[in-house]
């Protein structure tokens, strides 16, 4: 009876691990938990309800751009224009709104422009066969230039001067300040809730995007083609996959996500800043790679990107809570990124010999298999 139960447990574990890339996700989740424990020890406020609510809200934009970069990385390419497209999105939407354009139309126009930028990226890489690093370096610079030119090389005024206070509030609540679920915290004299745990709207947006794009990547033809192109473009082409369309699709997803992330930043401050999203393309690489998405293509799952984005934000937030100066924060985060990529490389090198995904977890798995075989 007892062995039956353990065997069923083992089978479940095995099936979980059989999902591609799950080994790496489990490893980094353990790392994330360890980080949280360390920060709680360093500063007992880390796990407080209001910090948790804040932390989730901080993770959201990193997750969104992480999804963006993961899509492109899985096709074996890279998108350096993510940060600039965020800036472009933020500045375009804010400029239009200060001129009195209703947010819905402002957002729609911005979105179309960003998607067009994604199509251009995809065509440059897939059809013109430019190296992705160079092609998106170019569009990165161009998009930043557009972000600067839309309001004559100035940050915008607050958007409420164009669309009025009530519409501004609605826009800000939709993208950043709105709360869905709240508990804990106290009422202050004016009847406003102070502290406590809340789920803010960016978290909802991030979850919605994640569900959508995770479905697209893991359950649809396009998603399968994205993995196939990243894994072996020659074989994919000989299997009838349209390489150009697949890569373009990934860049479009990337640009669309970057657009949403830009709107969130815009809603945070209620204005447009020209340097919005600076270096975010690299934060996006970090979130993806920490989460097990390989820069060489074909490998990784979006669940890993969630953990990667979480580790990134936990490091920022936790180090800040622990009172580390910005310089130290940067150094520590840089080291973590390098270590996680190093881990990825070492695992790959090891897997060439052993043909397994993660040496540690798979050795457990294989041992389980040998046992069942010998029992039979």
């Amino acid at each position: 009876m007892n062995t039956d139960k353990t065997r069923r447990g083992k089978n479940y574990f095995k099936r979980l691990l059989a999902v591609r890339g799950m080994g790496q996700v489990i490893s980094v989740t353990i790392g994330l938990i360890a980080l949280c424990v360390v920060f709680q020890i360093l500063s007992s406020n880390f796990f407080s309800p209001d910090n948790m609510g804040n932390l989730l809200r901080q993770i959201a934009p990193y997750l969104i751009i992480g999804i963006a970069q993961s899509y492109v990385l899985i096709t074996g390419n890279i998108d350096l224009s993510i940060g600039s497209i965020m800036g472009m999105s933020s500045m375009m939407a804010a400029t239009m709104m200060t001129k009195g354009v209703h947010p819905v139309w402002a957002i729609l126009t911005t979105f179309i422009c960003c998607v067009a930028a994604g199509v251009i990226n995809g065509q440059l890489v897939a059809t013109c066969k430019l190296p992705p690093f160079i092609a998106t370096l170019g569009t990165m610079t161009i998009a930043r230039g557009i972000a600067q030119i839309v309001n004559n090389n100035h940050n915008t005024d607050t958007i409420s001067i164009g669309i009025g206070k009530a519409t501004t509030e609605a826009f800000k609540n939709f993208f950043y300040y709105g709360k869905i679920l709240t508990f804990g915290g106290k009422m202050d004299a004016g009847g406003n809730l102070i502290g406590g745990f809340s789920i803010y709207s960016p978290v909802i947006i991030a979850i919605a995007l994640w569900l959508l794009f995770n479905f697209l990547l893991s359950k649809t033809r396009t998603g399968r083609h994205i993995y196939a192109v990243g894994s072996n473009a020659d074989a994919a082409r000989l299997s009838g996959v349209n390489i150009s369309a697949t890569i373009t699709a990934a860049y479009v997803v990337s640009a669309a996500c970057a657009c949403v992330a830009g709107l969130i930043v815009c809603a945070t401050t209620g204005m447009g800043a020209m340097d919005t999203g600076n270096s975010y393309e690299l934060y996006a690489v970090a979130a993806s790679v920490i989460g097990g998405v390989s820069t060489l293509g074909g490998q990784g799952i979006l669940l890993g990107t969630v953990i990667g984005a979480a580790i990134w934000s936990v490091l920022q937030n936790g180090l800040q809570f622990a009172g580390a100066p910005v310089a130290i924060r940067n150094i520590v985060i840089g080291i973590i990124v390098v270590l996680s990529v190093l881990l990825d490389v070492l695992i790959r090198r090891g897997s060439q010999r052993r043909l397994t995904d993660t040496p540690f977890l798979n050795s457990l798995l294989n041992r389980g298999q040998e046992k069942t075989e010998s029992r039979v």
Binding site: T220, R221, S231, A235, R237, L238, S239, N242, G298, L355
Partner: protein
């Protein structure tokens, strides 16, 4: 007294000077599943050109890689310049003066000729490169070869033949005494071949030993002093070139009886299903005309570099065509890319399964279903996992692919099972024409038989089967009709009963254009 002794000593050494500069004996080398070299012996004299001959896979290249230290030997003795070698590696071989000029040239195409020649041992003065000195030395070496190449040209701008001369110059610059040339003429024109031969003769006159590997047998008669023949990883014989004839060489090369069993079924030959007319695509596909009928397997024979793979790729739409028409059941197909071919039911099982056939890091399930996702997904692209699993399980069962479960990465399977995965990708589509390119390369005998059975099943079901192979017995054992290619052209066609190995080999080495045209008319 003392000097006398030294002189006598020197004379004695010269008298005992080894006749051979390279002696290899009892060399064994195994790769997983194959004994690539089986007790091979090999000798090379100073000042001779030795042709090393054998069919594809006879072990020539492996033996040369052992000699140049790229592969360690499993056992056996290597004596170079009379010195018995213990630990032997690429560095040691280089020090002894062994240089290999590869089939694919290994040069930095963005650097100049001189920079390539001195790559890795640049001349410097106080840490600064002495460009002029290197250029002058390179010019001197090239002058010695009597070739007109400016050492300051960028290698990428040179014709392939000139690049080859640079490789030879590089070998001479390290004073290589033993030069191995692997298929040196495969990319050269007739005039360039003359130049190369002149240089080889000069190297020989200089007392160097040249090992010459080529599939072009007619060249051998003109350049080689001696031939050594290998077959199936074994040393067969060696002879002086003047004592032998081409037919004799060929019979030693093919030598064996067809001893493996090839399952063959006989079917009524049906109507014409597929036709290629006047196909041209690059240098290696010239004016190809062929037809496939229901109920037959057409084998495409030829030596490496004959253009067979290029022909299949052009038909399938992987590489662009210059001209030519393709017909399926009498209807002309427009094939702009693999997608069009697949849609119309013409599929290719490619030669290099790791490079073109599989996404090795993806699971077996994802690989098998990749070309057929349109069948198992709805119009929004949602892939029905249940039909996918059912389809994959069906082919795993039918083709007896051995694996723990369909989710394992394809790279973890054995070669034979990987090949079955590549084949099963195409069975789900109800294809009408299946082209196999080297489907049995690197897989074990049992798996080979399963692949043959599968081809027979397709043949029985009225599907057009074309089958490219470099293994002569396999071609003869499995095909109903055999097409022979050489130099991008079809040089012969036989019905299975009429063909002999010698006849096929003769056609496969037919490099003379006029002859090829005359014979094929």
């Amino acid at each position: 007294m003392r000097s006398d002794a030294a002189v006598a000593d020197k004379a004695a050494r010269e008298r005992n000077a080894p006749e051979y500069i390279v002696e290899m004996s009892g060399i064994n080398k195994a790769f997983p599943g194959v004994q690539a070299l089986d007790n091979v012996s090999f000798q090379l004299r100073a000042g001779e050109v030795l042709a090393l001959l054998g069919e594809n896979g006879a072990g020539k290249s492996t033996l040369m890689k052992v000699l140049s230290g790229i592969y360690p030997r499993d056992s056996g003795e290597i004596i170079v310049f009379g010195a018995k070698q213990g630990e032997y590696n690429a560095k040691k071989a280089k020090e002894l003066g062994v240089a290999i000029i590869h089939q694919e040239l290994n040069m930095c195409s963005h650097l100049t000729v001189a920079e390539n020649i001195f790559l890795g041992r640049e001349l410097t003065k106080r840490g600064v490169l002495t460009q002029t000195e290197m250029n002058n030395k390179a010019r001197e070496i090239l002058g010695r070869l009597n070739v007109d190449i400016d050492p300051e040209t960028v290698v990428g701008d040179l014709a392939v033949s000139k690049q080859q001369m640079v490789e030879i110059a590089k070998a001479l610059s390290i004073d290589a005494r033993i030069l191995i040339m692997d298929e040196p003429t495969s990319a050269l024109t007739a005039k360039e071949i003359e130049d190369l031969f002149r240089i080889i003769r000069e190297l020989r006159a200089d007392g160097r030993g040249v090992i010459y590997i080529s599939h072009r047998l007619e060249e051998i008669g003109r350049i080689a002093d001696r031939v050594t023949i290998m077959r199936d990883g074994k040393y067969i014989t060696d002879m002086n070139n003047e004592d032998t004839t081409l037919p004799e060489i060929i019979s030693y090369m093919v030598g064996r009886e067809i001893k493996e069993k090839y399952p063959k079924i006989s079917c009524q030959r049906g109507g014409k299903i597929f036709e290629v007319r006047n196909l041209n695509a690059g240098l290696m596909v010239r004016n190809i005309n062929l037809e496939l009928y229901k109920g037959e397997i057409v084998g495409v024979a030829g030596l490496m570099g004959a253009g067979r793979t290029e022909m299949t790729r052009a038909v399938f739409g992987v590489d662009p065509k210059e001209s030519g028409q393709i017909f399926l059941n009498g209807k002309q197909l427009i094939i702009r890319g693999p997608f069009d071919a697949i849609k119309n039911g013409v599929v290719l099982v490619p030669e290099d399964r790791k490079k073109d056939g599989l996404c090795v890091r993806l699971s077996v399930r994802e690989n098998i279903s990749l070309p057929s996702l349109d069948i198992i997904s709805n119009r929004f692209g949602y892939v029905n996992l249940r039909s996918e699993r059912a389809m994959v399980e069906k082919y795993i069962r039918e083709l007896r692919i051995r694996l723990p479960h369909a989710e394992v990465e394809t790279v973890s399977l054995s070669g034979g099972n990987q090949q079955k995965v590549v084949v099963s990708k195409w069975l789900a589509r109800n294809s009408q024409v299946v082209i196999f390119d080297e489907p049995t390369r690197g897989i074990d005998v049992a798996a080979k038989v399963e692949i043959y059975n599968l081809m027979n099943d397709l043949k029985r079901n009225g599907i057009g089967v074309m089958f490219v192979s470099s293994e002569m017995p396999e071609i003869m054992g499995v095909s109903d009709r055999i097409i022979v290619m050489c130099d991008g052209r079809i040089t012969g066609e036989f019905m299975a009963g009429e063909a002999t190995q010698n006849e096929i080999m003769k056609r496969a080495t037919m490099f003379d254009d006029k002859l090829a045209v005359a014979e094929s008319v």
